[in-house]
């Protein structure tokens, strides 16, 4: 192959003419065109094709991970009032800037955003290319396609119900639950090593208070940043818990922090945030909501 001798042809122009002639004869006589009549016929697009987005409003939790991973800043979160779902935040896409990379679909922790095969998005003005969440909404799209991402059943902790009984830690066959004391509260909280968890569900069965429940979660391909909590800065305002889209921040009262008011009564004890990081999607909303620098998140910008 490499030391093949160069083929100097004595055919002048006849060999290429023979080739073009046979090609023309084939396409004219056998009638197999190489093109299609575009607006009337359409090419079959593969199911992986990345076109216009659809957002499943019921699955979406409004975490804004898609907005943050977008390399072109073409997405934004819009606050809308939905008659069914109440006050929610859902993403919109600016197709004038979108480069259809599909990272928003990959990063979505609940697989609420998909890309369809629709690609005819041209319009006359730039404003019309800004698709708000209502235009992207399609709650039934997920039924039409086969799911690519793998689901996994994981124990999820409800911190409000947990009594620190340590039964779950004793039950776990993989020894992947560790009881970690929560500073200031005097309770212990089970922390689950998700890498070792085999989804056996024994911890959820043994939990008397239904604090651990098995829930389906999608496997994430990305390592997301985790919030770091600084107790001494926390005022217990609860802004982070309100902001958290995955409900993984619990405001727990700290016993022994009650102040004596002027009338002699004791005030309510101070609260602190407790993070259940197994549920965390790494969106950084708590970090942005905190006004007192009590939460740190390296790599996330305010």
């Amino acid at each position: 192959m490499t030391d093949k001798k160069r083929t100097r042809s004595p055919g002048f122009v006849l060999r290429p003419m023979k080739r073009t002639g046979t090609q023309v004869a084939r396409s004219l006589i056998l009638g197999k065109p190489n093109t299609i009549l575009y607006p009337y016929q359409k090419l079959a697009l593969p199911p992986t094709y990345r076109g216009k987005h659809v957002v499943d409003f019921k699955k979406c939790i409004g975490c804004s991970n898609c907005v943050q991973i977008c390399p072109n800043d073409c997405m934004w979160m819009e606050k809308i009032d939905d008659p069914e779902l109440g006050k929610i935040e859902r993403p919109g896409v600016d197709y004038a800037r979108c480069l259809f990379c599909g990272l928003c679909v990959e990063v979505c922790p609940t697989v609420a955003i998909h890309e369809t095969g629709e690609f005819e998005l041209a319009d006359r003005t730039r404003e019309k290319l800004r698709y708000g969440p209502k235009e992207l909404r399609d709650d039934s799209y997920a039924d039409k396609i086969s799911e690519e991402r793998q689901k996994r059943s994981l124990p999820v902790l409800d911190m409000g119900k947990c009594t620190s009984c340590e039964k779950c830690a004793g039950e776990c066959p993989e020894m992947c639950i560790a009881m970690v004391p929560v500073e200031g509260v005097g309770k212990k909280k089970p922390e689950i090593n998700l890498a070792k968890c085999t989804s056996c569900g024994k911890c959820a069965v043994v939990c008397a208070d239904k604090a651990l429940t098995m829930m389906d979660a999608y496997e994430s391909y990305f390592e997301m940043p985790e919030p770091r909590f600084i107790l001494k800065n926390c005022t217990g305002c609860g802004a982070c818990a309100k902001a958290c889209p995955a409900d993984c921040i619990y405001m727990i009262e700290m016993p022994g922090t009650e102040r004596v008011l002027k009338d002699g009564k004791k005030s309510k004890p101070k609260k602190r945030a407790v993070f259940v990081l197994e549920k965390c999607v790494g969106c950084g909303k708590c970090f942005r909501a905190c006004k007192f620098k009590a939460i740190e998140m390296p790599g996330v910008r305010k």
Partner: protein, 354 residues
Amino acid sequence: MNLFEFSYGIIHWLVDLVNNLWYWLGDVLPWVFGDFFDAVGDFAASHGHIAVMAMLVEALIIIIIGLVNVLNFIWIDRKFMIITPAKVDRMGFLLAPVIFVGSSIAAMCTIPMGFEFYVGTNDTPYSSYPLPGGPEYPGVPASALVAFALFAIAPFAILTAGWSSNNKYTLIGGLRSAAQMMSYEIPMLLCVASVVLLAGSFSFFGIVEAQHDIWFAIPLFLGFIVFLTCLVAEVEIQPFDLPEAEAELVEGWTTEYGGARFGLFMMTGYLRGYIGGALAVAMFLGGWHGPAIIPDPIWFLIKAYIVFVVIEWMRWSVPRVRVDQILNIGWKRLLPLAMLNLLIAAILRTLEVF
């Protein structure tokens, strides 16, 4: 609104315009040309050909409307499309398309397509033999010579266009065209000379008549190939379209032209392709001779188009050559071959095969 609706709207508008003009003209014209129309009416009534006259007038008015449209398009073209760059030499820039188109069409007019199908008068048959006293043919005298002379004017137009455009690409294109056409003129005319030698006539009629028994492409096969190659170079078709090599010289000598002028160049380029085919047919492929089921001019056209298609086929199959290579081919290969071909023709003539 999609394209179909848009074009449908335009056609609808045009039909409305024609109808309105028709009514408008019907009202106004008699008022202006009252006497004339009365006279026409009188003539028609008196001769009883009202229907015929009405049709004639209708045709006349449609032609007038067509002319108005043409003027309209010319106006649009001049207003919005034709751009004459500021620093061109206006004289040459405007004259070049005229010369190019005029000479090409004139060359086409000299080629007869049948014994009864030619441009000229029946009244004055000319002696077309190189020596006086030969057979006499109608049409343009010595039409083969005239055709090739007119065909060879085009390089001057191209050179003028290239020079006057005041652009480096057009200048190189024009000079390439001059070099190429002048070097290919000689082998081509040598082939023509061999044909004339065999036919014994400078008129296309004489040449075609001489091919009644056998096409000249068979004894002079070498000459036919050389002639075809030179023809491709003369009409600037692909392997030899150096003057407008779009990859290196943008669009060659037509770079600065736009609108209808560029359209004229483009159209005339293909017209010259057809003329080349017609010349090859008249010289080598037996002209209008063929089985009598099809009339002569149709035979001629079919043959000319086949040659044209072969040329275009070659155009789409091969790249273009380089400027030094094209001159090498012209002077070092084709010229000796053409001389050899002339020698063959002379031998055939001497042996009185023809």
